[in-house]
Structure formats: C-alpha cells, structure tokens
C-alpha cells in the first residue's frame, strides 16, 4: 500500500464533493450527462402521462356529474366564508324539504382554505322543478371561543337548468358577531 494511493482515493472524493454547489449540487458534467438524459426521457414520459390522465379525469368528472346530476335537476350547494374573524367553522348540516341530506365536518386545512377565499361544494342534489326549502345549520366557535350553532333558511324555486346556492358566513363588525346567509348564486 502506498501513501499516495490512499490520499488520492479520499482526496478525489473530497474534491469532487467540494466542487458541488452550495444550494444545489451539481455533479461532474460528463459523468452525469447520460444519467441526466435518461432522467429527462423518463420525465418527459411522465409529463405526457400526467397530461393524458388529467384529460381523462376531466372527461370522467364531467361524465360523472352529467350522469348523477343531470343539468335539469341539478342543485349545487356551496359554502363560503368572508373574513371569519368571529367564527371558526366546524361543521355544516343541510336539510332539504325537511330531510337531512348532508352533514360535513371541516378539517383545519379545509376551514383554512375557506378563509382564504376557497368555496366548498358541500352537496349536490337532484330536485324536481318547483318550490323547496333549505335549512342549513352551522356549528363552530363564535366570539370568545364560545360554542356557536346557528341556522339559516332559504325558500327557493327550482326551474329548468342547474341551480347554485351559496351558504355564506360573514362577519358583522358592528355587532361583532358572525352572520349566516343563504342565497342563490347570482
């Protein structure tokens, strides 16, 4: 065994390593070129598959909706929040014409998404044309972290074509209380 041989083995490793970049490592150009090409080819295949699967998901999503909720009878119920200073949403339950149809419990992540402007489609239903009554019960934490449970009602008429109903939670700054409003999405 020679001293030089040993030094060279580790020195080579040390220098190769030291030659890497601080934030993002970069291998030796020649050694990595083939591997990079292979990775790139695979990555392009994955990209192409992603596109095809997404397009297929779009078609399936539309098929599912049209099959399960035809436009003529479709009613979609959305939950939204505006500000949310005075209310932390835990759950929403819905009754249509006296019958409970949905009971949704929100995770922190979902409630956070609502607070940032997301709108949640909480329920889809098929309803006959004519008059209907919707009752929504919101539960959560109100001002001073007190348990809060409030209801809101909307009488609406279902005509021909899809209908969208919004269950909106807003802040009433003057009263420092949350407000729950149901309205037809205009």
């Amino acid at each position: 065994m020679t001293r030089k041989l040993l030094i060279n083995v580790v020195a080579g490793l040390a220098l190769a390593f030291a030659a890497s970049l601080p934030a993002q490592e970069s291998g030796a150009p020649d050694a990595d070129a083939q591997s990079r090409d292979q990775f790139r080819q695979l990555d392009q295949d994955v990209q192409s598959l992603k596109k095809e699967v997404l397009d297929l998901n779009r078609d399936l999503f539309l098929l599912e909706e049209e099959l399960l909720f035809p436009a003529n009878s479709q009613v979609a119920f959305f939950v939204s929040m505006d500000v949310g200073e005075y209310f932390k949403l835990d759950s929403v339950s819905l009754k249509i014409d006296g019958k409970e149809v949905a009971n949704y419990l929100y995770t922190d992540r979902e409630a956070g998404s609502l607070l940032r402007g997301g709108v949640h489609r909480v329920h889809m239903a098929n309803l006959k044309t004519g008059d209907h009554e919707l009752v929504a019960i919101f539960t959560g934490q109100g001002p001073q972290s007190r348990e809060y449970r409030r209801g809101a009602t909307l009488n609406f008429s279902k005509g021909i074509g899809a209908k969208y109903v919004e269950l909106e939670i807003t802040d009433r700054v003057k009263k420092q209380q949350p407000e729950f409003v149901i309205k037809e999405w205009e």
Binding site: L6, V9, A11, Q24, P29, F39, L49, L56
Partner: protein, 625 residues
C-alpha cells in the same frame, strides 16, 4: 356572487409556486384582489389552497370545458399554469406561461414565474429550457430573488462547462450577503474545473476564514476548508494543508474527511504518532463513510511506520474483516433493492395524500438500506425521480378508482335502460288515454258558447244547477192549469210566482257579468294549463324519443372511457417500472461504488498484511541463521 369578499383570491396567488417561496407577495404590496364571482372558480381555489393540485386542475379543466369560468377566464388560465407547475407538470405550465406572460401580467410576477421555471428545469436536468427561461427575465425581480437568479445563471454556465463566463460573472458579484459567499465558493468551483487551481486556492482560503453567522455558511466554510486542505495535500504542501483542515468543525458533514486529511498531513511530515490521533478518533465513527474506511488502513500504516508491527497486523486483519462484513451487508441491500420491494415499502410508508413539486422526501424508510442511501436524498436526480415515482403511483391509484367507478356507471346505465324499457309502454298507454286534443277542442267550444251567451245576454245559461232547478220549478208552476182560474186565490199565487221568478231573474241578471268574467277566467286558466300540458307532452314525447339516443351517447362515453383507462393504467404501470428501474440503478450504482471502494481497500489491506508477514518471516529467518 356580487358582494366583495374581504378574503379573496389574489392574482399573484394564481402562480401557486410563488406562494411558499414569496409569502411577501400575499401582503399589502401584492396585486389588486380579485372577487370570486363564480362558484366553480372558488371551488378550484378551495383545492388549490389545500395544495391538492390534482383535483384542482381537474376542476379547472372541467369548468373551462363547460364554460363555467367566463368571468375569470384570464385568472383561471394563469391559475391553471400555476397549478400545473405546483403539480410538477412543468412542460404544460410553461406552454401556458409562454402564452400568458407576454403581456397583461405584472412584470414582477412574470419575472418570478420565469425564474421558478428556470429553477425547476435545472433541477430536472432541462438545462436548455432553464437557460431560455432565465433569458426571459426582465428587470423586475426583487433584489433577493434577483441574486438567486444570478446564481442560477452561474450554475447553469458551470453545468454547461462554460467556466470562463461563469468565472467572469461570479468575479463581478456585488454585495456582502450570504449569496456573495456562495458566489465565492462557486467561483472557486469554476476555477478548479477550468484548471486554475492556484486562483481557486486564494478564493477558498478567503472563504475558509470567514466568520459564519448561520449553519449554512458554517457548512460552506467547512466545505471550502476541506477542498483547500486536500488541494494543498495533493500539491505536496502538507504543512499548509493542516490549517484549513483543522478549521473544519469536529462534528459535521465534513469532519471525517477533515480528520483523515489532518492525519495524512502529519503522516506526510513523518509525524506518525500525531497522525494516529485524528485517525483513532475516526475509528469509532460510521464505517459507511469512506474516510472512516480509509482510516482503518491508515492506522496500521502509521503503526507499521512506528515499528508496531504486531499491532499493525491486528488492525489490518480487523479492517479486512470489517470490510468483508460491510460488503456482505451491501450485497444483501442490493438484492433487496433489486427485488423491487424497497420502493414499494417507501410508498407505503409515505401515503399519497399530496403530490407536487414541493414534496421532498425527508427520510428514507427504516431498514438496512436507509443508511446506505441517505446521501442520495440530497441529489436532485434521486429526489426528482422519487417525485415522479410517487406521482405515477398516484396516477395509477387514480385510474384504478375510476376503473371501479366506471363499472358502476355502466351498471347504472343498464339499470336505467331496463327501467325505461319497462315503464315506457305504461307511460305510452297513459298518454294515449289522455285526449289532450279533445280537451283543447272542448275548451274552444266552451269559448264559442260563452261568446254566444254574452252576445245574447243569456243570463239563465250561467245559472247554477240549483238556480236552474228553481227556475224550472217556477216556470212549471206557472203552467199549472189551476192557476189559470179567475179566482182571487189563484191570482194571489200567480203574483207570488211572478215575484219569485222576478227575484230569481233579477239575481241572475245582476250576477251575469261577474259570472261571465269568472267563467272566462277559469276558461283562460284552463287554456293555459292545456298549453302547458301540450308543452309537457311534447317534452315527454321528445324525452321518450331522445332517451335511447342519450343512452347510446352515455354508453359510448362510458364504454369509450373504459379502454382509455385500461390503456393508460398499463402505460402508467410500465412507466412506474421504468422509473423504479432508474431509481434502482442509481441506488445500486451507488452501493456498487461503495463496494468497489471496499474491495480496493481490502486488496490494499491484504497486500500490506502480506508485506508485514513477509517482513516478519524474513526477520525470523535472519535471526535463525
């Protein structure tokens, strides 16, 4: 929704990839808020904010297909680009950005977008695309991002072997932030790679003496000292090499190599006793590290130099045994990885609750493989490969779920078709019984009759049944023969009858107009109901006629989607196998390199041992003689 939300989507947030990297953008200086005006747009944001990029993209595509994002068309397209990028679908994202970023977009957002695309592309090895993206950046990046973009440019030049331009760029670096230190280091790298080692040494010397203020800079300093120390060792300057090597922290990612180097510097200076100090320190450390492996040979080498032959022989024997055991463990690990179970285990340990470009594997699954592959995690290729593998696995599960759903939809369609076929004759029979045309005819006859009654003022025609009976009774009384007698009693009855008749007629005439109006109203309502019935009937007829076509259209969609799912599932499965093979080849290649190094060390140890035995035999032989 027309009311303005206080919490609304911001245009810049549409560029999903900017959110974690540039939270300041969401602050008061960000672009003007956008009011969510369509529920479907809000729904996309709902998934986007939860970082569920795949369902968010599906909803954008579906909503766009159905024209449900008309008022958010521009934001939705930009959001889609951001979602694609966050999901790691960078080629599709770039297509969108290339279309949208040309105009109508805040210049800072445009520049940031190109910067992040460049960053992703470099990580994924698309160096040409990364360069084009950097070329698109204008002058609107914030200062910190601009520095990072400049560094990225230098890295791309180094990647492409254009060291001179990289050196020129890095030498010109201004400012005293930590980026300037990175620039200094990369300058050293570029100088080393272009063969200008002496210049590199100066740079590394300066960097090795900095007073770091955070962990990253401390690590950078260690790295610079290590590189400098070994460069000096290689150029035969062991004394000078010791100082930078001793500046490396005793505990850190570079400490083992530094300790080994310090030992070699002493050995070069013939101070074997001193060399043993750092090498002995290495003995208790992880044998996976090449520096530790090499120290196992360096120690007996020094002992032999110090004439501790017997101790040296013992250490060589120990080293050979340790290398043999380690090599065996690596063999077993390679077999396990090649069996394909390793990557499935790591998928099962890391549920696919999220996918996308931001995901990073923080730790490998537990097991003997983890310790060998730990540092692979630091490489872009392995991380990006793992991301793709995860994404493919997600796609496969997604397709598998849809495959089951489509089966259900096919059954549902069949059930509906059967129910339709069963009900159709009954409905047709009922409809045939309902003589709507006859009803319309009768309504028209009533209209005509009412007109006659009105024109003739036939108040009796509008009498109720009871009134009509009364009228009949009264008129029949009038015709009673006895009443014709000329006697006072008969006259009195006639008067009464006349009075009754008059009262009845007066009432009927009085109510005539009102009754006429009420009957006309009822007839009009009946007419409207008949029109509605005719319309409904047409709808029913139309629906009955169209239903078979609708079933056929749904059939075609359902049965057309089934093979698409199946084909894609197979292709995703194949791609997973290829991706796994690629990751396996990286991992196995890494392990084989470790094994080769161990083999080299084993051979060296055996030779050294043989030399020692030889020397001992010669000495004994000489003594006997």
């Amino acid at each position: 929704m027309v009311t303005a939300r206080a919490i609304v989507a911001r245009c810049c947030l549409a560029l999903a990839f900017l959110a974690p990297a540039a939270p300041a953008l969401a602050g008061k200086d960000g672009p003007a808020p956008i009011v969510v005006q369509e529920p479907h747009y809000g729904e996309i944001l709902y998934y986007f904010y939860q970082e569920d990029y795949f369902p968010a993209i599906v909803r954008v595509l579906a909503a766009q297909e159905q024209g449900q994002l008309a008022t958010h068309a521009a934001e939705a397209e930009l959001l889609k680009g951001g979602l694609y990028l966050s999901y790691g679908h960078h080629l599709e994202a770039a297509d969108i950005f290339e279309r949208l970023l040309a105009d109508n977009v805040n210049p800072e957002i445009r520049d940031r977008t190109w910067f992040f695309l460049a960053k992703i592309w470099r990580q994924r090895g698309y160096l040409d695309k990364a360069q084009r993206a950097l070329d698109n950046i204008g002058e609107d990046l914030p200062e910190d991002v601009e520095r990072e973009a400049k560094m990225l440019q230098a890295q791309l030049l180094i990647d492409g072997g254009d060291y001179d331009r990289a050196i020129a760029m890095l030498q010109d670096w201004k400012g005293r932030t930590e980026w300037s230190r990175y620039a200094q280091f990369n300058l050293g790298v570029a100088l080393v790679r272009s063969g200008r080692v002496d210049e590199a040494k100066k740079i590394l010397e300066e960097l090795g003496g900095i007073d770091p203020w955070n962990e990253e800079l401390t690590s950078l300093r260690d790295k610079a000292n290590l590189a400098l120390g070994y460069a000096l060792l290689q150029s035969g300057q062991p004394h000078a090499a010791k100082m930078p090597l001793q500046r490396v922290r005793l505990e850190g990612p570079f400490s083992n190599k530094a300790l080994l180097g310090v030992g070699w510097a002493d050995a070069e200076l013939d101070s074997y006793q001193r060399a043993l100090v750092p090498w002995m320190e290495l003995r208790g450390r992880d044998l996976l590290d090449p520096a530790v492996q090499e120290s196992m040979l360096a120690i007996p080498y020094a002992l032999a130099k110090l004439d501790s032959i017997s101790q040296a022989a013992d250490h060589y024997v120990n080293a050979v045994e340790a290398f043999y055991e380690e090599s065996g463990r690596i063999d077993r690990t390679i077999s396990h990885i090649e069996s394909g179970r390793f990557f499935d285990e790591f998928l099962s340990e890391d549920p696919l609750d999220s996918t996308g470009w931001y995901w990073r594997m923080q730790s490998l699954p537990e097991g003997p493989e983890a310790r060998y592959l730990f540092h692979l995690l630091a490489t872009h290729e392995f991380q990006e490969g793992l991301k793709n593998y995860r994404d493919l696995n997600y796609l496969w599960s997604n397709l598998d779920r849809w495959q089951q759903s489509v089966d259900v939809y096919a059954n549902m369609l069949e059930t509906r078709r059967l129910a339709f076929a069963e009900r159709l004759p009954r409905v047709q029979e009922t409809l045939a019984r309902a003589d709507i045309d006859g009803m319309v005819q009768r309504k028209l006859e009533y209209d005509a009759l009412l007109n006659d009654i009105e024109q003739s003022g036939d108040w009796l025609a509008l009498a109720t049944e009871r009134e009509f009976e009364l009228w009949g009774e009264i008129t029949s009384f009038e015709k009673t023969p006895a009443l014709a007698a000329d006697i006072p009693e008969a006259g009195e009855v006639r008067d009464k009858i006349r009075m009754l008749k008059g009262v009845l007629q007066w009432g009927l005439e009085k109510d005539f107009q009102e009754r006429l109006w009420r009957i006309r109203r009822d007839l009009r309502e009946t007419g409207e109901a008949l029109v509605e019935t005719q319309r409904a009937r047409r709808q029913v007829d139309d629906s009955m006629n169209r239903q078979p076509d609708m079933f056929l259209a749904f059939d075609q969609r359902v049965y057309g989607l089934e093979p698409r799912i199946e084909t894609l599932k197979m292709r995703v499965g194949d791609a997973m196998a290829e991706q796994r093979a690629f990751l396996q080849s990286i991992a196995v290649g890494e392990l084989q390199a470790q094994q080769r190094r161990l083999d080299t060390y084993t051979v060296q140890a055996r030779f050294a041992l043989a030399a020692i035995y030889d020397r001992a035999a010669t000495v004994t032989e000489a003594a006997v003689k």
